[in-house]
């Protein structure tokens, strides 16, 4: 059996809307996602898909339950550990690319490496070391410099000729590809994508999916949230959520 990348045990997430009003985004969800899997998380709006992704990527904390990532329990992890883990293991593609408008395509792609280099050195090194020991960080290909990696990714997403353009000159599909390249700059073994093809024309959506399949073939674990069943059907595993409950796996 392959190693587990994401292990959720009875995960619940409750948002407090007002003093007495709470909303359950996730309720008692137990799921395992193995290394190298390509998983689609589907469900209607408000079903808890994005919350699921946020908890899996350590950008939100569950209200209860056990979370294990890359064999390491993250339930009690402090903010520094979570940051170090995100920096070494996770890549995020959000529904809106949110590129920095004053930075060129290339600079946007390199932004995570710059941010991670700025993180508090002493503690970060310690935590990163701890995080790396438990993660699936790949060593192959990581010897190359961030600049070479950016060249590689620009070539892969077909934007090498636009690397010095500012984001406003790019189409929506191109911006989405820049966001994907940015998510991959630090060789994350886990890619988390929230509606990556949402609002894209079929051609661009197909291009994104082709890139995802290539990455998955290279060993990247991909968890993709989508409400498009046709897109979800292109993955090897589909998890369906409704009202915060896992109704199909």
């Amino acid at each position: 059996m392959s190693e587990t990348m994401i292990q959720m045990q009875n995960i619940s997430k409750r948002y407090t809307l007002s003093f007495e009003v709470h909303r359950h985004a996730l309720e008692d969800v137990t799921i395992s996602i193995h290394r190298g899997e390509f998983v689609a998380v589907t469900g209607p709006s408000g079903s808890g898909k994005s919350t699921f992704l946020a908890i899996a990527g350590l950008i939100d904390t569950p209200t209860s339950g056990e979370l294990t990532l890359a064999g390491r329990s993250m339930t009690q992890a402090d903010e520094d550990e979570r940051t170090a883990f995100r920096a070494s293991t996770c890549g995020f593609v959000f529904q809106f690319p949110s590129l920095i408008p004053t930075m060129t395509v290339r600079e946007n792609i390199l932004l995570p490496t710059m941010l991670q280099a700025q993180n508090r050195p002493k503690r970060w090194r310690k935590e990163k070391g701890a995080a790396d020991s438990g993660s699936f960080s790949r060593t192959a290909g990581q010897a190359i410099s961030p600049d070479d990696r950016a060249d590689q990714l620009l070539d892969r997403v077909g934007l090498l000729d636009k690397q010095h353009d500012l984001p406003y000159r790019l189409s929506g599909g191109e911006q989405r590809r820049v966001a994907l390249a940015r998510a991959l700059i630090h060789h994350p073994p886990l890619l988390l994508a929230d509606e990556p093809t949402g609002a894209l024309d079929p051609e661009n959506a197909a291009l994104i999916m082709r890139l995802f399949h290539e990455l998955n073939r290279d060993g990247t674990t991909i968890v993709m949230v989508t409400h498009d069943m046709e897109i979800a059907g292109q993955t090897e595993r589909m998890i369906s959520l409704k009202n915060g409950l896992c109704i199909r796996d």
Partner: protein, 421 residues
């Protein structure tokens, strides 16, 4: 660090209107801080100068003239009483005497000073010992030559103050058949001394001895075409009219008794206590001014905090994204604080420069309007003051930004992204 500054700078450029507002706010803060401190500093110097000129702790005059001592220094009237300069020596040996300055009142002359005709009391002073006039002029110790004069602010007319900070005023005054150069003028005090002309004590002595000061004679005098005034006689050769004494703090009474114990033919009169009285009266004003400056800093900080609160709220999604990309709270806050610091730095530099340039360029006008001697700090002090105020402006911006940034960083990145949407 360079990358952080680059990103911060680009973010500032991204929203020019917002950046101009931020920098404008910082610039106004720096401008007001610099100007306030400057006026306060000038006021303090002015009070100190008033005290030193008019508030000598003790006056020593010839026996029998004690009643006229205080009036003399305030009115500048030339009085005809003299004592020997030898009185200075034993008194100056009293350890509690901090400063001792002799003055000699020559006479009141009718002459033309700086194209203004009038009656001018002539007083001689020792520039090496003086502590009463120094604070009222831009002249430095040792710069006053024997053929030069210091004049009261109105001796050259009401508007002569415009020449206040000229290093040399190119005006000649004929006194006692000799031509003197007006070196500098004193800041107005509103008293009789404003019309007094001050000359070097050594020069006065030479004139009294009847020496012809050839080097000071103009061509016109040499050829006898100028009707100048002569020194009235007799004034004793080593005469002085008064000794002004500044005692060490709290020792005035003790020094007075020490002088009396020397049994010299003199009267010792305590000063009017003007310096202490001015200090006491101005203390509440000073406290109020500092309180206003503190309130201004607080107000500016609150204003900046309000602005940053709106800015950070608008950028919560960006903050969440940065953290999702692996930026720690420290890195994200560093990026945003650098933006705030840069805005404060540039705004502060603009404010201090405008304040300094504006005050410096209009100093005489301000002096005329406010009757306040704006004693500008020297370049190095000005630079330090400017730097400190710029640093303070940066600190205000950073602290003001820190509060909303801290609040934005406390929530989970996903929550920040959702709130931003």
């Amino acid at each position: 660090m360079r990358n952080t500054a680059t990103i911060a700078w680009r973010n500032l450029k991204r929203k020019p209107a917002r950046t101009v507002l931020l920098m404008g706010s910082a610039a106004i803060t720096a401008f007001l801080l610099f100007a306030s401190y400057f006026f306060l500093h000038s006021m303090e110097r002015s009070v100190q100068a008033s005290g030193e000129r008019l508030g000598a702790d003790l006056y020593v005059v010839p026996k029998g003239y004690g009643g006229q001592a205080g009036e003399m220094t305030i009115s500048g009237t030339a009085t005809r009483f003299y004592m020997s300069e030898h009185m200075l020596e034993p008194i100056s040996r009293i350890p509690e005497v901090e400063h001792i300055a002799p003055q000699l009142y020559l006479q009141t002359v009718n002459t033309v000073c700086c194209k203004v005709e009038g009656e001018f009391p002539i007083v001689a002073f020792d520039p090496n010992r003086d502590f009463t006039l120094q604070a009222w002029t831009t002249l430095k110790k040792g710069e006053f030559a024997p053929n030069e004069l210091l004049i009261g602010s109105e001796a050259g007319g009401k508007n002569y103050l415009y020449h206040y900070d000229y290093s040399t005023i190119q005006e000649k005054v004929v006194l006692f058949n000799h031509t003197f150069l007006v070196r500098n003028l004193l800041f107005p005090t509103g008293m009789g001394t404003d019309k007094t002309i001050f000359m070097h004590l050594d020069t006065a002595r030479r004139l009294i001895r009847g020496e012809r000061l050839v080097e000071m004679q103009s061509e016109e005098q040499k050829h006898g075409t100028v009707n100048a005034v002569g020194v009235e006689t007799p004034i004793p050769d080593d005469a002085i009219s008064i000794l002004l004494i500044k005692a060490k703090p709290g020792t005035t009474e003790f020094v007075k008794r020490q002088i009396e114990r020397l049994q010299l033919p003199v009267d010792v009169v305590k000063g009017t206590g003007l310096r202490d009285s001015l200090k006491t009266q101005l203390f509440p004003v000073k406290i109020l001014s500092y309180a206003i400056i503190t309130m201004m800093i607080l107000m500016s900080g609150l204003q900046a905090a309000t602005m940053f609160s709106a800015i950070i709220s608008e950028r919560r999604k960006e903050i969440g994204m940065l953290r999702a990309m692996g930026a720690s709270r420290w890195t994200a806050s560093q990026l945003l604080l650098t933006e705030a610091g840069l805005a404060g730095l540039i705004g502060g530099m603009v404010g201090v420069t405008l304040s300094y340039a504006g005050l410096y360029d209009n100093r005489v006008l301000i002096m005329q309007l406010m009757k306040l001697p704006l004693l500008f700090p020297d370049l190095l002090t000005g630079l330090w003051l400017g730097l400190i105020i710029i640093l303070l402006t940066v600190m205000i911006a950073v602290v003001a930004a820190w509060l909303p940034i801290r609040s934005a960083l406390r929530i989970e990145p996903y929550e920040a992204i959702r709130e931003g949407e």
